[in-house]
Symmetry: C2
Subunit: 350 residues, 2 copies
C-alpha cells in the first residue's frame, strides 16, 4: 500500500489506494475519454488525427477532462497511447482509420543500441504538458492518473509491427533468443520509468501500467516478461517519487493474479471482466485495492442486466478497498446515457 501522503480531503480514489474503503466506491472508466462521447468527437475533429490529438496538450487536456465534467467521476486518466513510447524510441507509428496501429519496421536486435540513446522526452514533451494542463483544470478532490503500457505488451507491438496476431510467434522468440527478448524488455522498462517520473512531476497523482497482452503466457514466461518488469518499474518509480501509488492491470492472467497482488510495489490491481469476483475478493483484496471487473458490453446493452451486475460488483467488494471500473475499455457504441445510469448506481450509498 502507498505511504499516507494526503489529508482526509484527498481524492477518494487515492484514499482507496491507501487502504480505505467506501460504501459508494470511487469510480472511473477505462477509455472514458473516447469516441462514444460526442464532445470527444468534436474535439478530435479539431485536432485532426488521433496521434495529433495525443500530442496537442490543449485539446488532449480537454478530452481528458470531458468525462469528469459530464459524469463527475473520481479520476481522470491522461489521454495518450501506450505506443507513444516505441515512437519516442524510434519506430514509425501510424494509425490508419479503421485499422489497428502500425509500428514500422518491426524491432530487431540491431535497433536496441540506437533506441537506448533516443531522447524520448523530445517526443513526449507535449504529453507532460497535457498532464500539467489537466491537473490545473481538475478539482482538488479528483485524481489524475498517468499511465504507460507494460513492457511485455509494448514489446508485442514493437516485435509484431502492430497488434499481435500470433502470440505463439513471440514465445518462439522468447525460447529461441531469450537474450534479445530480455534486452528489449529492459530497454522498455528504462524508458517507461523515465516517462512515468515526468508524468508524476507534471502532476499525475498515481500511475497505471496496462499489460493488455499478459494473458496466455505460460507461468515461467509471465514471471519473466510481465510480473518482474512491472515490479521493477513500480519499485523504481516509488524509489524516486515516494508515495506515488501504482496500479497494475495484467489482463487475462486468471489464476496468476495473486502473484501481482502480492507484490509490495502494487497499490492497486485492475481485474478484467473474465476474473471471477468472489475469487478476486478472496485472493486479491487482502493484498491490494482491486479496481474494475465490469464487462463493458453490459454498458452497451444497458438495462436491468447492467444495473444488477453493477450492484453485485459493488456488494462483492463491500468493506474492502475497491475502485469501480470496467474490465476493459468502453467501445465506441456505448450509449452515454447508460454510463450516466451506471454512475448513479455506483453512487448509491448501499
Amino acid at each position: 500500500m502507498a505511504v499516507v501522503n494526503h489529508a482526509g480531503s484527498a481524492p477518494r480514489f487515492l484514499r482507496v489506494l491507501n487502504g480505505e474503503s467506501f460504501a459508494s466506491p470511487p469510480v472511473w472508466f477505462m477509455r472514458q475519454a473516447g469516441r462514444y462521447l460526442p464532445e470527444y468527437r468534436a474535439t478530435r475533429a479539431k485536432a485532426g488525427s488521433f496521434l495529433e490529438l495525443c500530442y496537442h496538450p490543449e485539446l488532449a487536456a480537454e478530452v481528458t477532462l470531458q468525462p469528469i465534467e459530464r459524469y463527475d467521476l473520481d479520476a481522470a486518466i491522461l489521454f495518450a497511447d501506450i505506443l507513444l513510447i516505441p515512437q519516442a524510441l524510434g519506430q514509425a507509428l501510424t494509425f490508419g482509420e479503421g485499422e489497428g496501429p502500425k509500428l514500422a519496421p518491426p524491432v530487431t536486435a540491431a535497433d536496441l543500441d540506437r533506441f537506448a540513446r533516443a531522447d524520448i522526452h523530445a517526443t513526449l514533451g507535449p504529453v507532460y504538458e497535457t498532464v500539467r494542463r489537466t491537473r490545473a483544470g481538475l478539482a482538488a478532490d479528483k485524481a489524475l492518473i498517468g499511465f504507460a503500457g507494460a513492457p511485455w505488451t509494448v514489446a508485442t507491438y514493437m516485435l509484431a509491427g502492430g497488434a499481435l496476431r500470433e502470440p505463439a510467434e513471440l514465445r518462439r522468440i522468447l525460447y529461441s533468443d531469450p537474450g534479445f527478448m530480455g534486452d528489449l524488455i529492459a530497454l522498455i522498462c528504462d524508458a517507461t520509468v523515465d516517462y512515468l517520473i515526468r508524468q508524476i512531476d507534471a502532476g499525475a497523482d498515481a500511475v497505471q501500467l496496462f499489460d493488455t497482452w499478459a494473458g496466455g503466457l505460460p507461468e515461467a514466461a509471465l514471471r519473466t516478461l510481465s510480473i518482474e518488469p512491472m515490479r521493477d518499474i513500480a519499485a523504481r518509480v516509488k524509489a524516486q517519487r515516494p508515495g506515488t501509488p501504482v496500479i497494475l492491470f495484467p489482463k487475462g492472467v486468471g489464476a496468476m493474479a495473486p502473484a501481482y497482488a502480492e507484490l509490495a510495489e502494487a497499490d492497486g490491481l485492475g481485474i478484467d471482466f473474465a476474473m471471477p469476483w468472489d475469487w478476486a475478493r478472496a485472493h486479491l483484496s487482502k493484498h491490494v485495492a482491486v479496481q474494475g471487473g465490469l464487462d463493458p458490453m453490459l454498458v452497451v446493452t444497458g438495462g436491468r442486466e447492467m444495473e444488477e451486475a453493477a450492484r453485485r460488483l459493488k456488494k462483492t467488494f463491500a468493506g474492502v478497498p475497491y475502485i469501480f471500473n470496467l474490465g476493459h475499455g468502453f467501445t465506441p457504441d456505448t450509449p452515454p446515457d447508460h454510463v450516466k445510469r451506471l454512475v448513479e448506481i455506483v453512487r448509491e450509498e448501499h
Copy 2:
C-alpha cells in the same frame, strides 16, 4: 471419477481417468495427427481437401493411427473437426487454404427449428465408421478418444460464420437476446450427445469436449454458456453409456478451472499452457485427473528448455492422476524429432 470398467490390463490412459497415477504418465498430444507429420501430408494428399479427409473413414483412420505407430503413444484421438456438427445441422462448411473455416450463413433464430430436425447421422456416418476402423487397428492397451466441440465454442463459429474475431459481439447477443443464445446452446447440446453416443458405440473409449473459446467470458456467462452445457452433455452421455470417462478442456478459464474440476461428471480436465502448474495441482488434482499444460511452442524450439519444462511438468503432477499432453495443439512447424525426444522424457521412470 469413472466407474471401474477395466481390468489391470486396461489402457493406462483410462486407468488414470479412473484415479490411478504412474511415475511415467500416459501421453498423447493435441493435434498429434496433423501437418507436422510427413505421413499425414501424404495421406492428406490422397484424400484431397481437409474435409474430404474427415469424411473418408479409411484415410481418416490411417492418419488417426499414424502418431501411435510413430511414437507409441497411449491414446489416439479421432481425426475429425469440431465444425462437422454445424455442418450436419445445416450450415455450409468450407475450409479455404490458408484461411480459417467458414460457416455460411451465420445462424439466426429462424434456423433453429430446421436445424433441430436435421438427421445429423446422415452426414456424420463416415465419422462413426472412422472410429470403428481406428479401434480395430489399435492395440488393446491403447485408448481411442472421441470428441466434440463444446457448445459455446461451436456456437461462436455458428454465430460468427467462422473463427471468432470480436468476442464482445457475442456477449452483446447474450445480453440482448439470452433466449436465442440459450436455444442455440441447447440445440448443440442435443446434437453433441447423440454424436458422442454414436462415437462410443463405434468404439471410442473416452470422450473429450473442447471449449477453445471459453476464455474471456465473465463468470456468469461462463457458467451459463460453458460449464452448465458441458456438465449437461457429460451427464447425459454417462447416463446412457455408464462408465465412459469424459474429459473437459475449457481453454483460458484461469481461476474458474476448479468449477469444471468439481463437476461430478468430469473425469479429466485439460489445462492450457497459461495455467500455472503448481496451482493446478493444488486446486484441480483433488477432484479430477489433470491432462496437458505444456506450451506447444516449446516443442517447436526444442532443446534443453523443452526437456526441462517436460520434466518439471511430470514432477509437478507426480503422485496424482495425470495425463501428459500439450496446453494447445501442435503447430505445423513442429519438428517430429522434437516430439520423439519429448516422448522419451515422458517415458523416463522418474
